[in-house]
Amino acid sequence: MITLLFLLLGIMILGAIIALESRDLLSSIICLGIIGYSLTIIFVILQAPDLAIVQIIIETMTLVILIAAVLKTDREDTTETFGWRKMLIWGFGLVVIFLVMMAAVRAYRHLPAFASPSLQIAAYYIDQGLALTGAANIVAAIILDFRGYDTLGEATVLFTAVVGTMTVLRKTGRKEK
């Protein structure tokens, strides 16, 4: 199971690098689809079925919207040139990522290792969740009963994003030249 996790993570990182360095924009978006669907399989491996359901539908919708956006604009990225400037940027990026990884190793050393979390608050939710709320789905009990205020904030953020889209993209009535 862990080897499958590493394999999928390797595919995701490779897909991310290809998506950003490719010259054809449709190939970039298909690589983004590879990352999203691998994330769905990883959610199933990590025992999170709610997230897998949401991720696969959202990934399909994101792909359709991005492909429609690419077909309305340029299909080829003309700013990608392979010269010494790009090698310089890659080298600099690698140095920055190396420094960040050193900091991350120092920070994550104090966490419990992978696949053995501390589960201090979650033990209370798992033991008392069914008795206190009556819901069998502990994730639904958390987002709607124990932490309902956070869900109110998230619903408001979604509402604001939709209203923002409709405000920016409405017909302005101005004559275009």
């Binding site: 993570l9 990182i13 978006i29 990590l46 994550y108 992978f114 979650a122 958390i142 932490r147 920016v168």
Partner: protein, 113 residues
Amino acid sequence: MTVFLLAILLFFIGLYGVLVKRNLMKIVIGLAIMEYGVNLLFVLIGYSKGGTAPIWSRGMSEGTAMVDPIPQALVLTSIVIGLATTALIAAFAVRIYEKYGNMDVRQIRKLKG
């Protein structure tokens, strides 16, 4: 711990895309990759070996080991909001292309239409 570092590496590849790339669509793709990396890191922290999904069903014994349900509750809404922001930014990119005729960020800055 290397699994956490790979998820952080995915986040930083997305950040590289947002900061360095000059095409608007590559910036949008970088933003989406950052969002995938963050969601993945959250769910990875909550995993426990031998645990099942945090849903009770009939006939399950009382002491069943379950994975941590709190990161799943936080990531569930984050995925839907990620779709809304990605669609919004893609719509902005299409509008900018219709107005300036170019997708290169440096050319748009020079045009000042």
